[in-house]
Amino acid sequence: MSLRILTENIDIPELTSFEVYRKLGGYRSVEKSLKTMSPSGVMEEVKKSTLRGRGGAGFPTGMKWSFLARGIGKPHYLICNADESEPGTFKDRYLMERNPHLLIDGMITSAFALEANTAYIYVRGELFRVLRILEKAIGEAYANGFLGKNILGSGYSLDIFCHPGAGAYICGEETALIESVEGKRGNPRIKPPFPAIAGLWDCPTVVNNVETLASVPWIINNGGEEYAKIGVWKSTGTKLMSACGHISKPGVYEVKMGLPVEEFIYSEEYCGGIRKGNKLKAVIAGGSSVPILPADLILKTAAGEPRLITYESLSEGGFETGTMLGSGGFIVMDNTTCIVKNLWNFTRFYRHESCGQCSPCREGTGWMEKVLYGIENGEGKMPDIDLLEDVAKNIEGHTICPLGDAAAWPVRSAIRHFRSEFEEHVKLKKCPF
């Protein structure tokens, strides 16, 4: 049974207007929190919900908020990460295009909890259309007294501004994003200090994903405990899954945490099975950065348990036999897919997007791309496969930001699960597909 927390009413085209959103019950969480709750009370509800960050890392949101360095005489900032560029991920764009006020609603409530008076939405540069939708929605919120000075007479003031990027995947990484808001190149910072202590202009800053912030209004309206009842164990609430690749019905689906992967892929309510009656070969479950799994391991864990859409179930078995929920970018591949070619394409992506600060990432991604290109085009030798694995291992854990890992994991997992396909390329001296 589906439950809609984020996508309720999303098919109403006029939902982008303030009036319609408000009439359908929108901005109640702002009224409730600003008029009847304290900032720490709002934070407590979010803690109780055990909501986890939807940007990819799954860090508990309430806990992240509690790390904010308060009372050090500096302003606090909230930044919404709307940079959505992880290949296979298109859920934030969907949400912002169709329900921009839900994000603003969640941002006001969250900024109140963080005692921030200024918040920015870092919108991916390519999405001018989304930028315009958000700017219009923000203008409406100001005009109706939900933004600006003394919101609803509560004494709390907040400004929200959009800040566009300009084409750089790395700016989705939170410290690169902060550099970018400061008007610089998107070079990730060495942590610590973490943004909660010294972020934007050296001030305490929280960076949260669009979907994370959009989940907050429901939590405030219904209570953190109610939210925590949805889902399984430490994976609570609902998750937006953007499904693409070789399935009958690609699209964005809101699923209750705990939905079996098999049901997600094959039921008519979701992906509708593999296109053209082909067979499932592999899935990248959480955006291009997470390990690829072959059909048997994505449907069931190595222990034979059904794999569920939760943080824990998808990572069951570690990287040997598991993967990660990541951003929820669910890329499905059927039996016509060449794993090597696909991997070459993603590795090329990471090489292109590396900011170049760390040599293992800058040099390693280029090296892996070349080796993969060689194998795919019939020029590979057997030792190249081990070489690839070696390069990947030498990137992993040796870089400033996780982009290096994100480039290494797909390579290591593809070799782990599909080594014979690499070998076949080498033996045949061409791509068998």
Binding site: P87, E126, A166, G167, R185, G329, F349
Partner: protein
């Protein structure tokens, strides 16, 4: 280039008001934060690309050094450092699009336009670019022209798109704040 007819540098009063509104979004003394938004505006007002003169002009508006502008303009892929055609066609070349035929779309475009990726046709009409994942993987392959997404593309629908843009006189690049 034909595109010079669209050149609006230095900015007119309306654009300058827009610039000041954007600078006002950041705290006193942090006006450098407005750099990326201003480069988007400048690129649109200067014919779709950033010449050194345009970048120096943006530096003067923000009271920062020209090198600070060059550093940023060269980092982000949306900033064009050489002239572009009236219509820039951006084809997504990442994973899901590549698996679904983007490769053929790119070679079809190269053949039809007689240029390679990164080049502009000699009549100044078209520039062909490849870009990374546009967050529209559900409708792959995807092409972006200006702010519009064209999804589930085939060689036939690419031809129709080209026909449309051959007739078009207003450019595909846009000022995001207009």
């Amino acid at each position: 280039m034909e595109t010079d007819q669209h050149k609006q540098i230095p900015f007119n009063d309306e654009t300058l008001a827009m610039v000041n509104r954007i600078i006002g979004r950041y705290p006193e003394g942090r006006q450098k934060s407005a750099l990326i938004p201003l480069l988007h505006i400048a690129q649109a007002e200067a014919g779709g690309w950033l010449s050194p003169e345009t970048m120096d002009y943006v530096a003067s508006l923000l009271k920062i050094k020209p090198i600070e502008v060059y550093e940023v303009a060269t980092f982000y892929t949306m900033f064009n450092l050489k002239p572009v055609g009236n219509c820039t066609i951006e084809v997504c070349r990442t994973g899901p699009c590549w698996l679904n035929g983007a490769e053929e779309i790119v070679s079809h475009l190269e053949k039809k336009l007689h240029i390679r990726v990164g080049e502009t046709t000699s009549d100044g009409k078209f520039t062909l670019k490849t870009v990374e994942c546009l967050a529209a993987c559900g409708n792959a392959p995807v092409i972006q022209v200006g702010t519009a997404y064209h999804e589930n593309m085939t060689t036939e629908s690419v031809d129709l798109l080209l026909d449309e843009w051959r007739e078009e006189t207003s450019p595909s690049y846009q000022n995001p704040y207009k």
